[in-house]
């Protein structure tokens, strides 16, 4: 579904991303993990078009998307969320969702229910709690027509109950055959949910494989703890 090949990006003198190569298979949940500064968010920004790569190719369902403007990549079928929630604060839940798709009220109620956000759709986004804003952002990302869903640290800063709900939401998505790529630091979450784990360190792919294999890998531990 999504394949990156030798993607690279320099910032100043630093290689934030270096010969990054990996695939995301359709109908799976893939987690991108790695220590801070490994380049995970940069990779996300490159895939979604917010940052232009210096080199490499990115194919979405065979179509080349590297270097396209963000809105074109979104239209090609990539939907994403951010580490620091980016809802439209001065707009209502309804208007936030309408930005994703000209949906009927029923569709909107359904997607809100599926993320366990039980608030009237006229509520202004700024009135929601941080966790609820996160759910809104996910709902909005789900509502937009997409073939790949990218979530940047969906569990960051949310309480355990919402974390559980997120697990359920993601498992349901996989059951429906959806494809998800996520960045996560919560290892329990990653272990529980992922079909594949990709470890990024210093801008390149260190290891990839099933969660259980990765957890036992010496090199991965070293990357996190330092040599």
């Amino acid at each position: 579904m999504l394949s990156l090949n030798k993607v690279a990006k320099r910032f100043g003198g630093v290689n934030a991303v270096n010969k990054c190569t990996f695939n995301v298979e359709e109908g799976t949940i893939t987690s991108l993990i790695g220590p801070n500064g490994a380049g995970k968010t940069t990779v996300f920004n490159i895939i979604s078009g917010l940052t232009k790569p210096d080199a490499g190719t990115i194919k979405l369902n065979g179509k080349e998307i590297a270097g396209l403007p963000a809105y074109k990549i979104a239209q090609s079928g990539i939907s994403r969320t951010f580490q620091l929630t980016k809802v439209f604060r001065n707009m209502s839940i309804k208007d936030n969702l309408l930005m994703a798709k000209e949906a009927s009220e029923k569709e909107m109620e359904d997607v809100l229910k599926s993320v366990y956000l039980h608030k009237p759709i006229d509520t202004t986004a700024s009135e929601l709690s941080y966790g609820q804003q996160r759910l809104l952002e996910i709902a909005r990302a789900l509502l937009m027509e997409h073939s790949l869903l990218m979530l940047d640290e969906p569990t960051a800063g949310v309480n355990p109950r919402i974390r559980q709900e997120l697990k359920i939401i993601l498992k349901k998505l996989r059951k429906e055959g959806k494809t998800v790529l996520l960045i996560e630091h919560d290892m329990d979450f990653v272990m529980d949910i992922s079909d594949k784990v990709i470890v990024l360190a210093e801008g390149r792919v260190l290891r990839e494989g099933k969660p259980k294999e990765i957890m036992k890998d010496k090199k991965v531990l070293e990357a996190y703890l330092g040599k």
């Binding site: 917010l50 809105y71 979104a74 990539i78 951010f82 980016k86 439209f88 001065n90 707009m91 930005m99």
Partner: protein, 283 residues
């Protein structure tokens, strides 16, 4: 006499409402702080003045005033909306200074600082002109309101709140930002035309910062991104502004005092209630 006076206040208020509402579209609803908005108002005034002085019928002159202001605005936007926030604001500010300098020096066209007197009225009777201005402004504000409440308006507001998020939802934010300025400056040009056919004169002082900051006061005190707030604040504040005329001091000092009071009010609002009276957004 008394009636004349009220008619005058109402005409100015209506035109100011159109200026501020058109500015609000770009500033309050799209987050584009176009500090050069009055450049387009002034260009509309000059275009309409020059055309009608040379015999062009007013309805063609007014449409062209809006169109030319809009075309120039679109060109400006196409080049500048990609700039980071801070710089967009100062570029647009620079444009006003440019407009002042050009209008003062392109003497063959504008007669420089002497200005263009003898701009024909559309309707000589002030009362009927007030009705005319009311109709035009009401239609324009109504159209702007429709745009704000439409899908396009929603995209404008999303861009204001978070341009990146709007982009990753598939919206071409560059296009919409330019569109916002295109519409905003069109109505500024129309307002310029209405203005110049009332005071029958135009000169480079139309581009002065004082005039712009007065409009900004209406916008911010009324409430950014609130059309209702603009309408109320213009009528209320303009009445206050005009009533200060009656204090028995020399006209020069009155002018200065009025500006100081308004600037003082605006500063107070910026400090204690930056949303303004009816606004929901702080820019």
């Amino acid at each position: 006499m008394i009636l004349d006076y009220f008619v005058s206040i109402i005409i100015y208020s209506l035109i100011y409402i159109l200026i501020v509402t058109s500015l609000n579209l770009a500033y309050g609803f799209t987050g584009l702080v176009n500090l050069g908005h009055m450049a387009f108002f002034g260009i509309g005034a000059y275009v309409s003045a020059l055309l009608t002085i040379h015999g062009v019928p007013w309805y063609i002159a007014m449409i062209l005033a809006g169109a030319i202001a809009s075309i120039l605005g679109t060109i400006m936007a196409a080049i500048t909306v990609r700039l980071k926030g801070d710089y967009f604001q100062v570029v647009t500010l620079g444009l006003v200074f440019m407009a002042i300098a050009i209008s003062r020096n392109w003497i063959s066209l504008t007669r420089g600082a002497l200005g263009l007197p003898g701009v024909p009225s559309i309707i000589s009777n002030k009362f009927y002109y007030m009705v005319f201005v009311f109709v035009i402004c009401a239609v324009c504000v109504f159209i702007i309101n429709l745009i704000v409440k439409s899908k396009t308006g929603r995209i404008f507001q999303a861009i204001r709140d978070d341009e990146t998020a709007a982009a990753i939802l598939g919206k071409n934010t560059y296009f919409y930002k330019v569109l916002s300025i295109l519409i905003s400056t069109f109505f500024a040009g129309i307002a310029g035309s209405l203005f110049v056919h009332y005071i029958n004169f135009v000169d480079p002082t139309i581009f002065d910062l004082e005039f712009f900051v007065l409009m900004l006061s209406f916008l911010i005190i009324g409430g950014v991104a609130s059309i209702k707030g603009t309408i109320i604040s213009v009528f209320v504040l303009e009445s206050v502004y005009e009533s200060l005329r009656f204090i028995q001091i020399s006209p020069e000092i009155i002018g200065a005092l009025r500006v100081m009071i308004f600037m003082g009010m605006l500063l107070v609002i910026l400090i204690i209630r930056p949303k303004g009276m009816f606004g929901k957004v702080v820019i």
